[in-house]
């Protein structure tokens, strides 16, 4: 049977419950919610005067009511040490979601740790140190002392290259301006760590270098632009599932107003199905291109619209670089940048050639070009373009994103109402750190350096390479071995003094081991290798600021205690700095110790003031609190009449600044098509039968680390699904729910067969990031010139390993597509 909670009733929120502003931290969209808390032995009543809604709850409430919450929106948690009821429900007044919750965000309450209801018992609640062959709970001082002593042995004033750091750079979740600053100040100011990486990729780099180099920040529009446009173009993205309420609350209204919709994706997604329902089939164009051929398509569209003259000449003259090449191609720039003329010559691609490369009809490419750019009733056509991992983690990242921005620039669709060329995003943003210039470009490929035996101490902040990196089979093999060397050395010195223990650890490190410090909210898969584990809190267990995909900044107010002695990452980083300072002073390294001063923060707000506020003095916690769930769109330009004044969309003045050029002119990208660019991809394609396309799903997305302990979610997909055409299944002798092994030249993983008639023959889609089947095991190490991973172009073979296990017997394998019945 499907999982059922058998909850027949819920406590009613009383009139006087405390109400906190909450921005959902589970994805980039950042939907507004409110958290209500009230004492454990109290509740409101059904009469209008007795509850927070002023509603008569003895009656059935209608659709979209505010006076209802699901069992998933309820929990019992601790607040200032007291048990309280907690309800977190969507906020109708928030411009982002207008009261909508999603299958992820509407489970925020249920996904809090509770000792009363037993949810999220996997949350870490105290520091753990590897001792006596396992992890032993201990105090912060003990754990941080060990971290500082071992770390101090491998770093020195002018050489911190043996300290490897994996650290999140995002907002939402446990990121945010407070925590990126805390970690950033430690590693980029007190130290100058260059061997580092970000939570979702193997290097410390931008995911959209070309857009920025062209002068265009990747989040340049407002969500309302979807309702003001003629055409919505979605590339390598599936917004109904991964930016849900952006799709439902902003894209759908645009479609209902008559916008045409173009999808570029090898796979038919539920987003496409929904768009067909909302806009009508005739207004939706799905360009189901061959995997990795986006660049050829965009270059052909660009060539065509320039030839047709469907371009914004005034805009090009005023806002873009005139001349030839402004930035030649070299090791830092995988394509030349410069004028429209230059790009036109470099990117030249006929529609006929593109049709062959991409495997789509010429007529469809022409239709796309016309929907994007052909003037309508003598007016410039408005087009908003949104892209995400399909091309960010796809073939030839730099040139492909550049080619898409080219189209936006040529048609004057950036900085205009109903326009924008933007990434959709994953996590929210919340980046405020000292300069990372010392890291260099291309940035070090950290995972490969670890595989090659480099790095002595590894600090990991909310990264789980084991589940989400590429070349994961090899990475895990080496990392297990290297961290085990240290564990064995520690086990051999059980009972030793701290000095003896540190000597033993350093001995193992010098012999090729690596000392692993894991800061996270749960015990992750890579955390199984850790020698010290430090428990962090997440949004709502601390005050936390972030911005969403339209740069909307909000303050999430702390509404509950974190588990046990867990702390905000910024305060953990401060603790590390203070212990390093102490240890270095003890060792007489006073000058170096001085670099670790300046962390006497008592609370996360102090980290915010020490970091973000210094660059944006108008922005304070009090002012953000007053701005509520609608917050303010960055950049903040002032404070007037008691309100922060923001910026609805960027570049409305036609000045492009992201590249830092003084002339403020946008550059075009001259990146011609060059086939599958990353090493090993073309060979893999030639040698294996199935495309193993991969990505996220509606229900399994960023908060999966919590959801692996959520019964509703685990019940739906106990294993990662592999969408596969039924005829391919028949050939392989597969039935729905069978477990298969996916294997190729770099590794193997397992998945559960999900028959999908809309999947093309030979093209599968596997759920990425699953705890029960790491898709990254079969992704090769190939990256682009700037170390951007290429997850999407992966090929492999498939073999059956088991009949459907009993754990999937109750599952539905029906089509995920809504029908009008």
């Amino acid at each position: 049977m499907a999982y059922k909670r058998n909850v027949d009733r819920l406590p009613i929120i009383p009139k006087d419950a405390k109400k906190h502003n909450v921005t959902c931290h589970y994805c980039i969209v950042g939907c507004g919610y409110h958290a209500y808390t009230w004492p454990i032995k109290k509740e409101g009543g059904p009469a209008p005067g007795q509850n927070a809604f002023g509603a008569d709850l003895s009656k059935q409430q209608g659709p979209e009511t505010e006076a209802w919450y699901a069992p998933s929106m309820y929990n019992v948690v601790k607040q200032n040490g007291q048990d309280v009821h907690l309800v977190i429900k969507p906020d109708k007044g928030c411009a982002v979601n207008a009261g909508l919750g999603s299958v992820r965000g509407a489970r925020m309450a249920e996904n809090r740790r509770s000792d009363i209801t037993g949810t999220q018992q996997q949350r870490l609640d105290q520091p753990l140190v590897w001792r006596y062959g396992t992890w032993q709970p201990t105090s912060w001082d003990d754990a941080l002392d060990l971290v500082a002593r071992v770390t101090a042995r491998v770093i020195d004033k002018d050489n911190e290259d043996d300290l490897f750091v994996s650290m999140f750079d995002h907002g939402g979740s446990a990121g945010g301006y407070e925590n990126t600053w805390g970690t950033g100040k430690l590693y980029f100011q007190s130290m100058k760590v260059k061997n580092c990486r970000i939570h979702n990729r193997p290097a410390y780099n931008s995911e959209v270098h070309s857009s920025r180099d062209m002068g265009v920040d990747e989040l340049n529009y407002a969500y309302s632009d979807y309702g003001l446009t003629d055409t919505i173009m979605i590339v390598g993205a599936n917004p109904l599932e991964t930016q849900t309420n952006l799709f439902l609350n902003h894209m759908v209204p645009g479609m209902r107003k008559g916008a045409k919709v173009i999808f570029v994706d090898p796979r038919r997604t539920v987003s496409i199905n929904a768009a067909e329902i909302e806009a009508g089939k005739e207004s939706v164009l799905h360009l189901a291109i061959n995997s990795g051929t986006d660049l050829a398509l965009f270059n052909a569209i660009f060539t065509h619209i320039v030839e047709k003259g469907w371009i914004d000449k005034d805009f090009i003259a005023k806002s873009t670089f005139q001349g030839d090449t402004a930035q030649p191609q070299n090791a830092q720039f995988p394509a030349p940048l410069g004028s429209l003329e230059m790009a036109k010559a470099e990117c030249k691609m006929s529609v006929a050639d593109a049709a062959k490369i991409c495997g789509v009809a010429e007529a469809d490419i022409l239709k796309a070009a016309s929907w994007i750019a052909e003037p309508k009733d003598g007016q410039r056509r408005k087009c908003v373009t949104a892209y995400e991992k399909g091309i960010i983690w796809g073939n030839d990242n730099y040139r492909t994103i550049g080619a898409l921005v080219n189209i936006g620039l040529a048609t004057g669709n950036i900085g205009r109402e109903g326009g924008g060329v933007c990434r959709l995003g994953g996590h929210q943003e919340g980046y405020f750190r000292p300069s990372d210039a010392h890291v260099g470009r291309p940035a070090p490929y950290l995972d490969q350096l670890i595989i090659a035996g480099q790095g002595k101490v590894h600090h990991i902040w909310a990264n789980d390479h084991y589940k989400t990196t590429l070349n994961a089979s090899e990475f895990k093999r080496v990392y297990n071995k290297r961290t085990n060397m240290v564990k064995e050395a520690m086990d051999a010195r059980a009972g030793a003094t701290r000095e003896e223990l540190v000597d033993a650890i350093v001995g193992a490190i010098e012999a090729g081991g690596i000392f692993s410090v894991n800061v996270d909210i749960i015990h992750t898969q890579i955390g199984q290798c850790a020698h010290v584990i430090l428990p962090a809190v997440e949004s709502g267990e601390m005050n936390l600021t972030s911005m969403n995909g339209e740069r909307r900044m909000r303050l999430v107010e702390k509404y509950m205690d974190g588990p046990g002695s867990s702390k905000p990452d910024c305060l953990i980083a401060a603790g590390m700095a203070q212990h390093l300072e102490r240890v270095l002073r003890e060792e007489g390294r006073n000058e170096y110790a001085d670099q670790f001063k300046g962390y006497d923060w008592k609370a996360e707000e102090d980290a915010f003031m020490d970091g973000y506020n210094t660059a944006h003095p108008d922005v304070t916690y009090d002012r953000l609190r007053a701005m509520g769930n609608n917050g303010v769109q960055e950049p903040v330009v002032g404070f007037k009449d008691g309100k922060l004044v923001g910026t609805m969309r960027l570049y409305t003045d036609g000045n492009f600044t992201r590249h830092g050029r003084e002339d403020k002119k946008a550059l075009f990208c001259g990146g011609g098509w060059r086939g599958l660019q990353a090493p090993g991809k073309a060979t893999q394609k030639a040698n294996y039968k199935f495309l193993i396309n991969n990505g996220r799903s509606n229900i399994n997305w960023q908060n999966w680390f919590l959801d692996k302990d959520n019964d509703f979610v685990s019940d739906r997909y106990p294993y990662p699904f592999l969408e596969i055409n039924p005829e391919d299944m028949a050939e392989l002798g597969l039935k729905a729910g069978d477990l298969v092994e996916v294997y190729n030249d770099v590794g193997a993983t397992q998945a559960m067969t999900y028959p999908t008639p809309t999947a093309r023959r030979g093209e599968t889609f596997m759920l990425f990031g699953a705890p029960t089947g790491t898709q990254g095991n079969v992704i090769n190490a190939g990256v682009n010139e700037l170390i951007l991973p290429n997850y999407k172009q992966t090929w492999g073979n498939i073999r059956k390993i088991s009949d459907a296990p009993s754990t999937v017997a109750h599952l539905s394998f029906k089509s995920k597509e809504y029908t009008t019945g």
């Binding site: 499907a2 009733r9 209802w68 069992p71 009508g280 009008t820």
Partner: protein, 173 residues
């Protein structure tokens, strides 16, 4: 009664592109509850045991509109023609579900080809053959299913619901 009719009717109609516009429909075969009163002071919520239909009233794959635990809570009885978990009746194939979407309360429509209940609100799909499992969607719970019993006469009774119904903080009002 009035609200119930409206919801059931909307749930039954063919949905137009672009959202919920109600059309008039035939009167629903809603059953009026005999006892909808909760008894206070017990650990479990007391559900009324309501007769919803007789097995003879059901035709394979044709939904019968009902209301449970009271007339303001629309739902359906379905004879699926195939034994399923939670199914009752001589063939073990009779199931009952709420037809108010547990996401935002839009009325669900039955897709007889797929045997799913589908939501025009935000495209959620629930599988009637798999205990109302959300095949895909935005609700944070699977579809509330009725606990059913069939007596010697073939009368079908509902005796409870296994999830909280949308729009009420107590399944029995």
């Amino acid at each position: 009664m009035k609200r119930c009719d409206r919801l059931v009717d909307v749930g039954r109609r063919q949905f137009l592109r672009g959202g919920a516009v109600a059309t008039a429909g035939a009167a629903a075969a809603t059953v009026v509850p005999t006892d909808a009163k909760a008894k206070p002071g017990t650990a479990l919520l007391r559900y009324p045991a309501n007769k919803l239909a007789n097995v003879k009233d059901l035709k394979t794959n044709e939904p019968l509109d009902v209301g449970y635990p009271d007339a303001d809570a629309p739902g359906v009885l379905l004879k699926l023609g195939k034994k399923v978990e939670g199914g009752v009746g001589p063939d073990g194939d009779i199931v009952g579900f709420s037809t108010v979407c547990p996401h935002k309360g839009f009325p669900l429509a039955y897709d007889g080809d797929r045997r799913t209940l589908n939501c025009p609100g935000h495209y959620s799909v629930f599988d009637c053959e798999a205990g109302g499992q959300q095949v895909w969607g935005q609700a944070t719970q699977n579809l509330p299913q009725y606990i059913l019993k069939v007596d010697d006469k073939g009368d079908i009774y509902a005796e409870g619901v296994d999830e909280l119904l949308y729009g009420r903080l107590s399944n029995v009002l």
